[in-house]
């Protein structure tokens, strides 16, 4: 039991996750240069002692831009997940508590959304909302909402029939007290755990929208946008695209390892 509790992979992921968060909170401490300072004389230089990750086509330090990109990329991922969780909880709760035509209407609508690929949904949403950091975050949240709505609906309906909620009814608790004190807290536990897994997907979708030019405006540093910048130089200067890509991959892995471990513990 205790051996399983702190598996090396999980510890490593926690450490890496803490590192990524530190980058997002205080990029200035870790970045060797200003992320926006161009130096045309040093454009597209390979990784060396001065520029560990090399420089891009404007001579900006790639390491500095990746470090500074952490905040936007992670904020989009976590922000979108948080918003989706909130919206999904409201929809799922409304469906579970009302039943009948309200539930059918809401949940079938969610099913329709779920039947579309998530990224496609996010693209449609960003087209309606408009591009930019906020627009892309909202779009990713829209794409992720149906999944949480469905889960919350199922959880709430299950917890509602459990013995302790029935005991609450027999005690004479008012419906609102029952839901706020007993139903929601017990229903949301597993949902929160699954949301940690959703953060990885949200980071990926956020980066994808940025890559397509629908995210933060240039010259803002964001991993998806950086990846897009490097696309034209893949053959001559691989490092411009490689390191932002690595950052995306790494953070998705970290989030998934942590999320899976939490889910495993929760289910046990």
């Amino acid at each position: 039991m205790t051996a399983r509790r702190w598996r090396p992979g999980f510890v490593l992921a926690l450490v890496a996750g803490a590192g990524l968060l530190a980058l997002a909170v205080a990029p200035g401490v870790f970045a060797p240069y200003e992320p926006y300072r161009a130096d045309p004389g040093a454009a597209l230089m390979g990784p060396d002692g001065a520029h560990w990750f090399g420089t891009d086509q404007l001579g900006r330090d790639v390491l500095a831009r990746v470090v500074h990109g952490a905040r936007t990329s992670l904020a989009m991922g976590f922000g979108a997940t948080g918003l989706a969780l909130l919206a999904g909880t409201l929809v799922g709760l409304a469906a579970a508590l009302n039943g009948g035509i309200v539930r059918e209407g809401l949940m079938r609508a969610m099913d329709v959304l779920l039947s579309c690929p998530g990224l496609l949904l996010a693209l449609v949403a960003v087209a309606l909302i408009g591009p930019g950091t906020l627009g892309a975050t909202l779009a990713v949240a829209v794409a992720a909402t149906p999944e949480y709505a469905r889960l919350v609906n199922a959880q709430v309906r299950q917890v509602r029939t459990s013995g302790h909620v029935e005991a609450g009814v027999a005690l004479g608790l008012r419906p609102r007290a029952l839901i706020v004190r007993h139903v929601l807290p017990n229903a949301l536990g597993p949902v929160l755990v699954l949301a940690t897994l959703g953060v990885g997907t949200a980071i990926l979708y956020g980066a994808a929208l940025s890559f397509l030019g629908l995210g933060p405006n240039p010259p803002a540093a964001e991993w998806g946008a950086l990846l897009s910048d490097g696309r034209d130089h893949l053959e001559s200067a691989w490092w411009v695209a490689f390191f932002p890509g690595l950052a995306i991959t790494l953070s998705v892995i970290v989030v998934n390892v942590v999320g899976r471990e939490l889910r495993g513990r929760h289910l046990r």
Partner: protein
């Protein structure tokens, strides 16, 4: 000659010793009962006899039919398990594969051990089911476990354990999940096997079960054997104080008469149907302040549905329920809520009745606030024989008996007039059960509480109730003073439906 000889058996789980140096033996045609409360190590002992303990097993001697079972590899165990030693588990629904028919399940040992030619297997399965007391075996063999009642599943499991004609049967609480009538049939089946020369090891917490079948009884506590001897001697003249305590805890005798007051709860021709099946059919009863009314019957007789109707958790399809002489059924929840404090449940599974995130203190405070009860949570705990130490614990950190006392304390916080107790002690050890029954009896007398007491255990019903209503298939088949009621013969239900 001894079939199984065990000397100095020890089972460890990561340093914790569940069984500590236990010795016993079983001969052909003999039934040894191993009795003990939860945590005594009796189940672990049973499982180590078929190589399924899951812990580290050591023994000075562990011989079965002349073969040393110590340190057998899993392959060798598979040769013995099922073929030479049959194992019957407590929970037949979990032990049977839900995706396979009963017939295939019973046939499995025959197929695996190749004891019968393949073409004769269906015939043999039918006979095994028939011998196990499964009516209409041909049809049953084609059904899945969920289509069978609990009693039939347990008998199918026994049929499967017997299929390869093992020399020894190890049965771990084979009747605990069954109602009285079905349990009696299962015990008769085991008795028949013993009489035909099979050795039987019966694991049970229930001394009345053991008394019917055992030739010898071994009593376990905390992983040790505290007493072992012929059944008659252990049951009538126990040497160990622990055995005496267990025997004293077995409910016996009748409840004292009480002075009753006004009717507090009345059911008038109440009926309820589920999925086209009538579960409760025109049941009427009256419960007066201060008295305890037993609601008895086999599984599926409608007791629990009736309890839920009384609690206002389920609406009857027909008939009415009155609480304090006023309508209670058929009200909108808004009008029922202010009166809910008057009637409170004492559940079978108190663990499930508590929000797992709440501490005992918070659970009790929540209830007190609803009624304006001024007694503190600690006072409430004291009223049910607990102390304030438990206030910060969560339900999962309590023992079964403590949980049930906390459930009663929470009900008391609402100052109810009626407690609806649905099998309140069926999940508890005998000694713990005795404490809970005494508590309920005291509350009934001191506070004039009325109890609606549901149980399938006749001894408990006699001990606790002044009057009984007996149900079968949702209908009242008998009612009257408990002393005049002869439940033993009448509650044994017909072989099950479906």
């Amino acid at each position: 000659m001894s079939l199984l000889t065990v000397e100095g058996l020890t089972v460890e789980f990561g340093g914790a010793r569940a069984v500590r140096g236990v010795s016993f033996g079983v001969g052909k045609g003999e039934c040894l009962a191993i009795v003990g409360e939860s945590g005594s190590g009796k189940s672990v002992t049973a499982r180590s006899l078929v190589g399924l303990s899951g812990g580290r097993v050591a023994a000075d001697r562990l011989e079965f039919g002349g073969e040393d079972l110590r340190g057998l590899p899993e392959r060798a165990w598979r040769r013995i398990r099922g073929r030479r030693i049959g194992f019957v588990l407590q929970d037949a629904l979990q032990a049977l594969d839900p995706l396979r028919t009963v017939g295939r399940e019973v046939a499995e040992p025959l197929v695996v051990h190749r004891t019968v030619p393949r073409r004769r297997i269906p015939d043999r399965v039918r006979r095994l089911l028939e011998d196990a007391g499964v009516p209409d075996p041909e049809r049953r063999a084609g059904q899945y476990p969920h289509q069978l009642s609990g009693g039939l599943r347990q008998r199918a499991l026994i049929a499967s354990a017997l299929a390869a004609e093992p020399e020894l049967i190890v049965a771990d609480e084979p009747t605990t999940a069954l109602d009285v009538g079905t349990a009696a049939q299962v015990l008769d089946l085991l008795a028949g096997l013993r009489d035909r020369g099979t050795g039987v090891i019966l694991i049970s917490h229930d001394l009345s079960v053991v008394a019917r079948l055992a030739d010898r009884i071994a009593v376990m506590k905390d992983g040790l054997l505290v007493e072992q001897g012929p059944a008659g001697q252990v049951l009538t003249a126990p040497r160990a104080p622990y055995t005496r305590m267990l025997l004293d805890a077995v409910p016996s005798g009748y409840a004292e008469p009480v002075e009753v007051g006004e009717p507090v709860l009345e059911a008038r021709s109440v009926s309820k149907r589920y999925d086209g099946r009538t579960v409760v059919d025109g049941v009427s009863f009256e419960l007066r302040a201060g008295e305890s009314l037993g609601l008895v019957g086999g599984s599926g007789s409608g007791k629990t549905t009736l309890a839920r109707i009384a609690l206002g958790l389920v609406e009857p399809d027909a008939g009415t329920v009155l609480l304090d002489g006023e309508p209670w059924s058929g009200l909108p929840e808004r009008r029922r809520r202010p009166r809910r404090a008057r009637i409170q449940p004492v559940p079978q599974d108190p663990y499930g009745a508590f929000d797992p995130r709440y501490t005992v203190g918070r659970l009790l405070d929540e209830a007190s606030r609803l009624s304006g009860e001024t007694a503190t949570a600690e006072d409430l705990l004291r009223q049910v024989g607990l102390t304030g130490e438990l206030l910060d614990r969560r339900p999962r950190d309590l023992s079964g008996g403590q949980r049930q006392r906390v459930a009663i304390a929470r009900a008391l916080a609402l100052r109810p007039a009626v407690l609806v107790c649905d099998e309140p002690t069926s999940a508890l050890d005998v000694s713990v059960q005795a404490g809970i029954l005494a508590l309920l009896d005291r509350l009934q007398r001191e506070r004039g509480l009325a109890l609606l007491f549901i149980s399938h255990d006749l001894a408990v019903v006699r001990k606790v109730t002044q009057r009984v209503v007996e149900l079968a298939d949702g209908r009242v088949v008998a009612s009257g003073p408990t002393r005049d009621w002869r439940g033993d013969r009448e509650t044994i239900p017909e072989p099950h439906r479906i």
